[in-house]
Amino acid sequence: MKRVTFVRSLVTTLIACAFSLPGHAQEATAIFSSPEDTAEITLSVRSTTDIATFAQILDAFVAAHPNVELYYEQWGSNNLYADSLSACDGRRQSADVVISSGVHQMVDLVNRACASAYQSDLTAQLPVQRKWRDELWGITREAAVIVYNKSLVPAADVPRTRFALLDLMRRPSNAYRGKIATYDIERSGLGFLFAFMDSQQATTFGGMLESFSRADAVATCCSAELIASVNDGQYKIAYNVLGSYVDIKSYRNLGVIFPEDYTMYLSRALMIPKDARHKEAAAQFLDFLLSPEGRALLQEANLIQNSDQAENARSDSNDRYIPIAPTLLVAMDAHRRDQFIAKWHDSFKAEDAP
């Protein structure tokens, strides 16, 4: 059965910095509603996920719930956190659903009592590390991967582990100097989280930073751009890229590595703000995402990645999850963050002018 979807306006892809006014920090918006136009409720969804990635799932939801119309806003994770915090204090109109890959920021929002609780059979089935207090749920399973340009990186050089990447960067030759990129942790909440979790996870992180510095690694913004740059050959290798953004079909040059020493998995967190106007519809949306149909769609969109999808066989014990738990609050601590970023800057001194 073909789902007929009426996208009333999939418009205005706006550049975030173009609108510095508070309340207009979103990058893009779109409205999804069923073709019969029977919507009674407009559910406001603020998310860090690209509209294009999520569109099919949102279409399926409005088809299943014709009385709900989705007003979808795409945000950067730091802006979304700031927006949600002011909404929590009552200074801004609250969204009905907030989804962010900045899980530590979401945990902080829940810890500040900005969320409302919801329980259903579907939320009960979630594993412990993917929910907290019945107020925050991890809806996806996305790996942090290493991508490389197949034509520029010889097969012998392909780093299957972080150690291999380290060795690559320590080579005296200039082959990879300035050709290795990763997230700018100040501009991306997700990048910070990945880097912070790496620092918690393994002692290799200190060496990594040092090597990044030696290899004149580049920190830049945003998964999609990083991936495109690697595909173009601007960079040879990108470290800690969100695997869900890597669409191998459209990027022919791209190789993806699930690091064999450990692979970090992230679950995008969904929260229903305490001041949401349509909590029931928001709960329906959550249940839809957790339902078999929703999960199938998420998997199709590469937002749920199973270990067996990986190119190389790895044992499950190498999977590390970023747990949705209060321990993530350490990443939100001002002192800790300042120190971490200071350390990071030491490594990426020259990053601003690649």
């Binding site: 209060p326 609050l329 601590d333 800790r336 120190q339």
Partner: protein, 474 residues
């Protein structure tokens, strides 16, 4: 026709027995329930205390972890919060957490600002201070610890406050209480069952007794088995005594009726015959003779009635009148002074032989007097003058006796003497033969015995009882 009310009584009895068990069980249940409530309260208090203590320790551990991580950098205290601190706090899985690090002036260096009111900071310098407060409208528990610095470029206290909401505490307290309650519940049930079994088993003799009684033929007055615990044995004994008395009374009544029927028929027939003859007889002198016989028969009938009634009286009294201390000399003296013998047998000389000391027995006054009167009457009737009425005490036996100077009845009569209505051929027809039978009944009733002895000085009939001490005389 009698069965219905008796069955009803039996049914009622069985019912009250069940209710006794039910009542005891209700009592036991109430006691256990009260104990259960006390245990529940105690368990709840204990659970809350335990939860509070364990989670307070976690809080303190996290606060110390953070305080430990503080360093002074460029003249400023800086926290390098370890993940383990939040890991500790995350042990309370679903609780929101709070942390705040304040400088000496109370300014927040890092962590959450505002929200929870902090403890009086100066109090925390010596030891950690725990306090309850609210975290965004949710009840929460906090601890503040101080870390003192005396560096070249910074000196003073840095305060670390850590808190979390109470969900895990409440869940733990509830869990502990529940666990204790479940155990208590099972224990209570076991106790209740045990109590039920014990009580039922100890009530078993009572149940057996009830069943035996309700199944018993109402006309069956034989004694019941007295096996069982002391309380039941006492009851059964009492019941048996009662039934024995009833049995004796029924027997006495039966005897009285049958004796009366048997004894009165002949004299009454004789009197009627004499009276008819007297009416028919023409001759004046014969008529006088017949009337005299008539009078004699009537008198004899009177004596018979007297004796029968007095025997019934004796048997009735021995069962009903409580025995008392009696001086046998009083009995002898009273009978002697009534001087009936002068009327019964004016030609026989009667003497009295009593000592100076009281001779005390436990018996019934009236029954005893009746028995002794009969003995004396027998002595007067059958014996040889002089007749002596005496009281004596020998070897712990108190004796009252009647002795005449004759040789007593022949041996073949001796063997049948004392049976009811036994009358020797020598009987003159004016005795009912009940005299000795009364004496024997009285002797049986008061643990005594009747002795008949041929002495050198004559024939003596003795009524002998166990003697009582003198001072038991009231």
């Amino acid at each position: 026709m009698m069965d219905d009310p008796l069955d009803a009584i039996a049914a009622r009895t069985a019912g009250s027995e069940r209710s006794l068990l039910a009542r005891v069980m209700a009592g036991v249940f109430t006691l256990l329930a009260m104990g259960g409530i006390v245990v529940a309260l105690a368990a709840f208090a204990y659970g809350r205390n335990a939860a509070r203590q364990s989670f307070d320790r976690i809080l303190l551990g996290a606060a110390n972890d953070i305080a430990e991580s503080l360093i002074v950098q460029d003249g400023q205290p800086v926290a390098n919060i370890p993940a383990s601190a939040f890991g500790l706090l995350a042990l309370a899985e679903n609780d929101r957490i709070y942390y705040s690090i304040q400088g000496p002036d109370g300014a927040v260096l890092t962590g959450y600002s505002g929200g929870a009111k902090t403890a009086n900071l100066s109090d925390t310098l010596t030891s950690p201070v725990f306090y309850d407060n609210r975290m965004q409208a949710e009840r929460a528990r906090f601890v503040t610890v101080a870390r003192l610095f005396s560096e070249r470029d910074f000196s003073g206290a840095v305060y670390v406050t850590v808190g979390h909401t109470l969900r895990a505490r409440n869940a733990m307290a509830l869990g502990l209480t529940k666990g204790a309650l479940v155990m208590t519940g099972f224990g209570g049930l076991a106790l209740l069952l045990g109590a039920f079994l014990v009580i039922r088993s100890s009530m078993k003799p009572l149940e057996t007794l009830t069943r035996e009684l309700s199944q018993r033929n109402p006309y069956d007055l034989t004694p019941m088995s007295t096996q069982g615990p002391a309380e039941v044995a006492v009851m059964v004994h009492a019941l048996n005594r009662f039934m024995q008395r009833l049995d004796r009374q029924v027997d006495a009544m039966k005897h009285l009726i049958s004796d009366t029927a048997h004894q009165l028929r002949t004299p009454v027939a004789a009197i009627r015959a004499q009276a008819e003859l007297a009416i028919e007889d023409d001759a004046e002198d014969r008529r006088v003779q017949r009337l005299e016989r008539l009078v004699k028969r009537t008198r004899s009938l009177g004596t018979l009635l007297d004796q029968m009634l007095s025997r019934a009286l004796v048997i009735h009294r021995t069962d009903n009148a409580p025995p008392a201390s009696i001086d046998l000399r009083d009995i002898a003296l009273r009978i002697f002074e009534e001087r009936d013998h002068e009327f019964l047998a004016p030609d026989i000389e009667v003497g009295l032989s009593i000592g100076e000391h009281p001779v005390i027995v436990i018996a019934d006054d009236i029954s005893l007097t009746e028995a002794v009167k009969n003995m004396l009457t027998n002595g007067l009737r059958h014996g040889v003058s002089p007749v002596t009425l005496g009281v004596s005490k020998e070897q712990g036996c108190a004796m009252i006796w009647v002795q005449d100077s004759g040789s007593g009845p022949p041996h073949e009569v001796m063997s049948t003497i004392g049976q009811r209505f036994e009358r020797s051929a020598a009987s003159k027809g004016d005795s009912a033969g009940l005299g000795l039978s009364i004496v024997q009944a009285v002797a049986r009733a008061f643990n005594g015995k009747v002795l008949m002895e041929h002495l050198d000085t004559g024939f003596r009939v003795t009524l002998s009882f166990p003697a009582q001490e003198e001072d038991s005389l009231p």
